[in-house]
């Protein structure tokens, strides 16, 4: 096993809730829903102008 400073450093970063949305799961869902909405919009855009 390595004896790098990495392994000696304290695991100091803690998980904390997001500033908006209540939970990380909500934020992840928002990003994925935004993607789904964009795909639908692009499809409608292609149909309307293509």
């Amino acid at each position: 096993m390595p004896n790098e400073p990495t392994q000696n450093r304290k695991e100091s970063a803690t998980d904390e809730p997001p500033p908006v949305g209540g939970s990380w799961t909500t934020l992840y869902a928002a990003v994925l829903l935004n993607l789904a909405a964009l795909v639908v919009l692009f499809y409608l855009f292609t149909r309307a102008f293509g």
Binding site: M1, E4, Q7, R9, T14, E16, Y43, T46
Partner: protein, 560 residues
């Protein structure tokens, strides 16, 4: 270039260098230099990530791509938001908790030294070579369109970046990236608004957009599946997701950006913001290209957008023929313009049959103009085996038609885009060289001050290497194309190694190493002996690494 353009361009560049130097003036140790003391807020992380990914070529080539091929390239980015979510869940907490300087540092703790060194070496080779191209590619376009000496353009970009990146490190780079990205997007928005105002007074923006759409430039989504097709929904979503996972999760030039976040939450928010806005941003840049296409349906474009190659053709062996084609192209354009106006008139009438007839006439006129242009391209082939003027379309339009001040702003955006991605690359290359190679393999335990100075020198070294590479890149011919493809050959393997590390806890170092070598061989086989579209290399490479490692793992355990 008018005086106002020079003022805007020079003020933007000098301002960024000064801002970078000022922000990096308090850089005192290795933590500061490599990860900005892990104090950055999410909006800095987000825009720095986006500025790193969006190179000058993004803003020069993407509109040209929409001009020539339509907007289907936007699908390339569809997998990115998914990757941002996966990395926020997986990579960010691991990297942040371990407080690593580089992504490869984590691999030694998880596997062993040889796997860490292999991953670091793959990054150094791939990114080290491509950083020269990052400067060279936009410099060629700028020098051709503006008539500037390419060596001077390369030197200006290189020297500007070297000043703040080698003195201020990641803190200077990230702060400069933040401001650069705001100026870049501001420049693109101003260019778009001005472009819309340049459309003919008797044709509305919506009507011009409909003309571009009828000629196949607004094809944003294609759900058909074809493994040989680079850009459709499936290759973008799956292949693009694997590429984004690899690029944002294993490429130190991106990992370093979110390692600067002051907490897991700040780093996550930076990535998720990128997941929210990256796709619309690319859509916008492509839409600028489609609007330039619409503009050129009513204003005559050059038959070939690279002015230097067009001039060679005009004065070369087949000059008379080229000039005759230019006259023929002018006549074909007039017919096409009349057809476009006829289509707009038919749209206004609301007569479906007349609109369909006008659309067919417009398409025929477009095809005729395309045939004439193809004749011109054949002549250009005499001195350029693969002539393509897509990269020159946008800047050619900007310098011909945009007003004073806006030209300077767009040029500033191109320079700043080149500087931001280059700065991140040099900073990451320096960090990997010092942390993963020098501190681990060459000189261990030398103290923070030693590695801090080494990092500064390493940044300068990579800057010098990139500038020299860019200066000689013009003589390297097809090697440049090879370097451009290098990333797609390594990313799958890199991702496979990290996926093993994150998700396959029973797999050991030797199995991961063997899997990586086997996966790379599979990717090279696909590259040389199949017609598989390159986005799929990332999927194939990653899965091959995992499969090979899982197969070998029991054998390595038995040996122990």
């Amino acid at each position: 270039m008018r005086t106002l353009d020079w003022i805007v361009l020079l003020a933007a560049m000098a301002g960024i260098v000064a801002y970078g130097l000022w922000k990096g003036r308090r850089t005192r140790d290795l933590d500061d230099f490599l990860v900005a003391d892990r104090r950055q807020r999410w909006h800095h992380v987000a825009l720095s990530i986006m500025a790193t990914q969006a190179s000058a070529i993004t803003f020069l080539s993407t509109p040209g791509q929409a001009f020539t091929d339509g907007m289907r390239f936007v699908q390339f980015y569809l997998g990115l938001p998914v990757a941002m979510v996966v990395l926020s869940i997986t990579a960010v907490p691991i990297y942040q908790r371990l407080k690593v300087y580089t992504a490869y540092e984590y691999l030694e703790g998880r596997f062993d030294l040889k796997t860490r060194t292999l991953a670091a070496a793959l990054f150094l080779v791939q990114r080290g070579l491509s950083t020269g191209v990052s400067i060279y590619a936009p410099s060629v376009i700028l020098s051709v369109i503006m008539g500037w000496d390419i060596r001077v353009v390369i030197l200006i970009i290189g020297a500007s970046v070297m000043l703040y990146a080698s003195l201020g490190g990641a803190r200077a780079v990230d702060n400069a990236n933040f401001l650069q990205f705001l100026i870049i997007m501001g420049g693109m928005i101003v260019a778009f608004v001005t472009l819309v105002r340049l459309l003919p007074a008797d044709v509305s923006f919506l009507e011009a957009t409909r003309v571009a759409g009828k000629l196949g430039r607004l094809n944003a989504i294609d759900f058909s599946f074809d493994i040989h097709n680079q850009y459709n929904f499936w290759s973008g979503l799956v292949g693009g997701c694997f590429l984004a996972l690899s690029y944002f999760g294993t490429d130190q030039s991106q990992v370093q950006r979110y390692l600067t976040g002051e907490s897991i939450a700040q780093s996550r928010l930076g990535l998720l913001f990128n997941g929210l806005v990256k796709v619309p941003m690319q859509f916008f840049i492509l839409f600028i290209g489609a609007t330039v296409f619409a503009f050129y349906q009513f204003t005559q474009p050059p038959v070939f957008f690279n002015p230097v190659e067009a001039e060679h053709a005009r004065t070369g062996q087949h000059g008379a023929q080229f000039r005759a084609i230019e006259s023929e192209y002018a006549a074909a354009f007039e017919a096409k313009r009349a057809a476009a106006l006829g289509y707009v008139g038919a749209l206004r009438s609301g007569d479906a049959a007349a609109t369909e007839t006008a659309a067919q006439t417009l398409k025929a006129a477009q095809e005729r103009a395309g045939t004439v242009r193809a004749g011109a391209i054949e002549i250009v082939k005499e001195f350029d085996a693969k002539p393509s003027d897509a990269n020159y379309v946008f800047l050619s339009f900007v310098t011909r038609y945009l007003p004073a001040g806006v030209v300077g702003l767009v040029l500033a955006a191109v320079f700043l885009a080149s500087m931001s991605s280059t700065a991140s690359e040099w900073s990451a290359l320096a960090g990997t060289s010092v942390v993963d190679i020098q501190r681990r393999l060459v000189r261990r335990g030398a103290g923070d001050r030693y590695y801090f100075v080494s990092s500064k020198l390493a940044t300068a070294f990579w800057g010098l290497f990139a500038v020299l590479f860019a200066q000689y890149a013009g003589h390297l011919g097809s090697l440049i194309e090879a370097v451009n493809r290098l990333g797609s050959l390594f990313y799958g393997t890199m991702l496979g190694i990290f996926l093993l590390a994150f998700y396959f806890k029973r797999v050991g170092g030797t199995a991961a190493f063997v899997g990586a070598v086997a996966g790379e061989l599979v990717v090279l086989y696909c590259f040389f002996f199949t017609q598989v579209a390159y986005l799929w290399f990332n999927v194939i490479g990653a899965l091959a690494v995992i499969a090979a490692a899982l197969a070998v793992n029991p054998l390595t355990k038995r040996q122990k």
